[in-house]
């Protein structure tokens, strides 16, 4: 092929968000020549949008916090469907990962004694989120970006070339993982700027591509979130776990229409904001589920006292895990108690002085002022659920991030599955990125060392095939416009596989997805290959469709309601289903979904919980190691 650019690396990282950058730093520090590839400019990945904070049990604000408590909260939040080992590693290693950021220049907000300040967030028992105002993701990504620059400066001093050991390929999209004899051999993609093709020879590839939200109409996610990594893993022979679990964040903007879905950070509630319906009632008190009944305040007075005296009061129900709050808002709106634009009211204006609001929530203040013409220090916001995060992802080995079934393939961050179970707690993603990004970088390096120099080879025919597939949209008959197909996909997922699910609707969705797949194959793009967004979308569409099919198929199968999966026809949680993971795989032209038993938690971790609590989730057989509770 004439216009093909080729590179050779030890480790290729796809994705430059928190997970990808942390993985690349680790691989480079392990002495591996490392490439980072991303669709946007360096420093613009989705992580930049994270607001509230990063969860780590440093115990700076409440010294009772510990990794055990964090582990417990994470499992509770995920309704015990989390991979226990991931939740354990995450809780244990998060503090080190946060402190490490400080050594690279991060400047978190401080406690009065000069340590990293931590804030309250839904589902976290103690103040646990390290933060910088409400722009924590920016701090995280900038710090990692600057750490990478500092490594490049070292390389420049040593090799005379800053990119000798670590190079960023920005605005470059990977469309295919290349393989040799079952294992990874490299990756194929195109430069967005020129449309030229590029191939990487590499024995190890780390997927850190983030989520899938762009398959839904109302979402807090950006155009990058087209599920590329999920699809790449499937096509390479990997498997996806927990795809039925999608987090709808309870508070997205609902007005004006063009910003519908944009996130309103949970810190608004963590710092004192409350939810009210059209009648001015704090309705969350009516929606505390039994499993959480004794952990949350029973009336407003107690909830309000908790902000200043958390030891003697229980937290307000506005801070329940996200799935609970999102469903409650949904019900209020359906019952006709919503706000004028179909949301509910989030009121911080009547709760905090204007100066404090501007100080603690500067970017929310800015966002509403600029985009909606609303002054949040004077009037309530209108908010409603928005598709925010996918719990499901590539099935990996917890310790190394190795993708199950594909030697040489690794995954970390939002694209990996298992860590968050059926529902992720706020702040647990940023820490997940760092903990498992590092582990994947280490895992990939160890894997490459284990090959003893035997490098896999990319077959020329595979490159030709990948190139032909990428060019296909230019050769259509003009029947379909990618933007139209995308819009219909978003409507389908939003309306039929959204926050509340029904069997018939999901069946309809699957039919519609089949139809859209046929139409997507007929998509034709105009113009040339140079920075052509129509072409880019046409290629992303295939990924979105494949991943959406996994979501819908798994959601149809799971006959219970849990975390980010709510079935109107199966409204309860089931202890039997808790023992099951749904695993998606792809064959040449279809996907399959299989049941797989959940790995069982070792006794010493089980013993961190009260038996009474576990009874709500688990069967008696699973709990034989624990003494029977007194109840």
């Amino acid at each position: 092929m004439t216009d093909l650019e080729r590179h050779s690396y030890d480790v290729v990282v796809i994705g430059a968000g928190g997970a990808g950058l942390r993985a690349a730093i680790e691989a480079r520090e392990q002495g591996k020549r490392t490439a980072i590839i991303c669709k946007s400019l360096f420093g613009k990945a989705h992580t930049v949008m994270a607001e509230g904070g990063i969860a780590a049990s440093m115990g700076n604000v409440n010294s009772k916090d510990s990794w055990q408590v964090h582990f417990r909260d994470t499992m509770r939040g995920g309704k015990f469907l989390n991979h226990w080992r991931m939740a354990e590693l995450h809780a244990k290693e998060a503090p080190q990962r946060v402190w490490e950021l400080e050594t690279w220049g991060a400047l978190f907000d401080r406690t009065p004694d000069g340590r990293i300040s931590q804030r309250n967030f839904g589902g976290h028992e103690y103040p646990r989120l390290a933060h910088v105002g409400d722009r924590t993701g920016l701090e995280l990504i900038r710090t990692l970006q600057q750490k990478i620059v500092s490594l490049q400066q070292e390389d420049e001093r040593e090799f005379g070339d800053p990119e000798a050991q670590l190079r960023v390929f920005a605005e470059c999209t990977i469309t295919e993982i290349l393989k040799d004899d079952g294992g990874v051999a490299g990756a194929f993609g195109y430069w967005r700027e020129s449309g030229r093709f590029i191939a990487f020879d590499a024995p190890a590839v780390i997927l850190a591509t983030g989520g899938i939200g762009k398959s839904f109409k109302v979402t807090s996610n950006s155009w990058e979130y087209t599920g590329d990594g999920h699809a790449l893993a499937l096509r390479a022979g990997g498997s996806l776990v927990n795809m039925e679990f999608i987090q709808f964040h309870p508070t997205g903007m609902v007005w004006p229409p063009s910003v519908k879905g944009i996130l309103v950070t949970e810190s608004v509630r963590g710092d004192g904001g409350v939810l009210k319906n059209a009648g001015g009632q704090r309705f969350m008190f009516d929606y505390v589920p039994d499993v959480f009944r004794d952990k949350y305040a029973h009336d407003e007075a107690e909830g309000d006292r908790w902000y200043t005296d958390p030891d003697n009061n229980r937290r307000p129900p506005e801070l329940l895990p996200r799935d609970e709050v999102a469903r409650a808002i949904n019900s209020e709106v359906k019952a006709g108690r919503g706000s004028p634009h179909g949301g509910v009211f989030l009121d911080v204006a009547s709760r905090l002085p204007a100066e404090t609001i501007r100080k603690k929530l500067p970017s929310m203040y800015h966002q509403f002022k600029e985009l909606a013409g609303v002054d949040i220090t004077a009037e309530p916001m209108e908010v409603g659920p928005t598709c925010h995060y996918v719990m499901g992802g590539v099935e990996v080995e917890p310790d190394t991030g190795a993708a199950v079934g594909v030697p040489g393939l690794f995954a970390a961050g939002e694209v990996a599955g298992g860590m968050h179970g059926s529902n992720r707690l706020g702040g647990n993603s940023l820490s997940d990125l760092l903990v498992f990004g590092r582990r994947a970088g280490l895992g990939a390096s160890t894997y490459v060392e284990g090959l003893d120099g035997a490098r896999p080879a990319v077959a020329g025919a595979d490159i030709d095939r990948a190139a032909a597939a990428a060019l296909a949209p230019f050769n259509g008959d003009g029947a379909e416009n990618p933007y139209t197909v995308h819009t219909e996909l978003q409507m389908t997922m939003n309306d039929l596989v959204g926050i509340i699910r029904r069997s018939e609707e999901m069946q309809d969705a699957l039919e519609k997805l089949d139809e859209l797949a046929v139409r997507a194959a007929a998509v034709t793009v105009e113009g040339h290959r140079q920075f052509n967004p129509g072409w880019h979308l046409a290629l992303d569409l295939d990924n979105m469709l494949l991943v959406s099919r996994c979501v819908a198929r798994a959601a149809l199968l799971r006959e219970e309601s849990r975390g980010g999966h709510t079935r109107e026809d199966y409204p309860l949680m089931s202890s039997e289903w808790r023992q099951v993971n749904l695993i998606c795989r792809a064959s040449a032209d279809d996907i399959s979904v299989a049941r797989q038993p959940l790995p069982s938690m070792p006794d010493e971790l089980l013993q961190l919980f009260e038996r009474d609590e576990l009874n709500k989730y688990m069967t008696d057989d699973e709990l034989t190691v624990l003494p029977k509770g007194d109840a």
């Binding site: 050594t103 400047l107 000069g114 500092s150 063009s258 933007y483 052509n532």
Partner: protein, 381 residues
């Protein structure tokens, strides 16, 4: 509510292009980026534009709207008259790739030239201690979303390609300032700002501050304090101040302690409890130690102002008080700076200026105990 707007969008490549006219629908509440997306979906499927967050957080969607550097996603359509033609062009300071997308690699190169954060050797992860007040200055600069609008607007490089090799631009002045003011950074940086990053080319037009979507006070809080402190035999035409460079080993703890000690002594002098000569040496020593670790001179400006005043150096006192005010620090510090200014003006027998300064001092901090040196309307009691 909806209407049809006239848009004029630059289309082309590095080889040239032209403004194209479009009529396009606009709905209530939309921003310019929504309209560009509608153009893509309906009339110009290959129109190239960068964007990500659509919420002013990532700094991808920078372009020029009616000639002004702006974020497309944060420019609401209702800021234009319905009959107005909205012209969207790519950033002018950087080479065009296609349509609204420019090659901003210049900025990534410059980023690599700034020496990285360098903490004290041996300080272990988890042992970092910094006060909120000391990190806030750098935090302001870390709000930067790297939209590069400030770079685009700065006249030093906007139409002067030849200056690019020697001028890093406002984005990187705040980066240097951020590191310089980081309580635990150990590198000396002000020198390099002038020498390597071309701070001397900046003549403080403040255009960068005006376009910054994050509202960072690029000039007042980064450029001016750095220029102020740059000590060099070279003359900076915009800021003809020379200072003695002090060796530093930064630690905020000692800085705050020593500064507090010096302040307490000077306040005792001010209140007539002790003569200046009695404490002069102690004050000098405490201030010397504080300065040795201060990240910028302006941190101590309030203190220096009072010291100069008590020592009878009125002009110096006024200059330092002014520097302290430029700093937008806490209301109390500003109030203190105004009191010192008032005392200087009073000593210079400028009653109108004195009254005004007292008023300002009172506005920032009505209970400032130092105000008792003046009665209600600013005259001496």
């Amino acid at each position: 509510m909806g209407y049809t707007a006239k848009f004029r969008v630059w289309r082309g490549t590095d080889e040239g292009g032209a403004l194209n006219d479009y009529d396009v629908d606009v709905n209530e509440g939309e921003v310019v980026l929504d309209v560009i997306h509608r153009l893509q979906a309906t009339q110009a499927p290959d129109l190239a534009v960068r964007w990500n967050c659509k919420a002013g957080k990532c700094g991808s969607c920078s372009a020029e709207i009616n000639g002004r550097p702006r974020l497309l996603c944060m420019t609401r359509m209702n800021t234009f008259d319905k009959s107005e033609t909205v012209t969207v062009t790519p950033l002018r300071a950087f080479p065009v790739i296609r349509d609204l997308v420019t090659n901003v690699s210049f900025n990534y190169q410059k980023a690599r030239e700034v020496p990285s954060f360098t903490p004290p050797p041996g300080l272990k992860p988890g042992d970092y201690r910094m006060q909120q007040i000391d990190v806030e200055r750098s935090q302001e600069f870390r709000k930067c979303i790297e939209c590069f609008l400030c770079q685009d607007t700065c006249h030093v490089i906007r139409d002067h390609e030849e200056n690019k090799p020697v001028f890093a631009g406002p984005r990187f002045f705040i980066r240097v300032a951020e590191l310089d003011m980081h309580p635990l950074d150990t590198l000396e940086r002000k020198h390099s700002a002038q020498e390597e990053f071309g701070l001397g080319y900046c003549n403080i037009t403040k255009c960068c501050t005006e376009v910054c979507p994050e509202g960072i006070h690029i000039t007042d809080n980064a450029i001016i304090p750095m220029k102020e402190r740059v000590v060099d035999a070279k003359y900076d035409p915009a800021f003809g101040l020379f200072r003695v460079l002090r060796a530093r080993s930064k630690s905020t703890k000692t800085m705050t302690e020593q500064a507090d000690r010096a302040w307490a002594l000077l306040r005792a002098v001010e209140d007539g409890e002790v003569a200046y000569a009695m404490v002069e040496d102690d004050v000098a020593e405490a201030m010397g130690q504080a300065k040795a670790v201060a990240s910028t001179g302006t941190v101590l400006a309030r203190l220096e102002a009072l010291d100069h005043f008590e020592a009878g150096r009125l002009d110096e006192a006024a200059a330092e008080a002014q520097a302290s005010l430029n700093w937008h620090r806490s209301a109390q510090e500003r109030s203190d700076a105004w009191v010192t200014l008032a005392r200087v003006y009073d000593a210079q027998e400028r009653p109108t200026a004195t009254v005004e300064a007292v008023e300002n001092a009172r506005r920032f901090w009505p209970d400032n105990p130092r105000l008792r040196h003046f009665d209600g309307d600013g005259a001496r009691p």
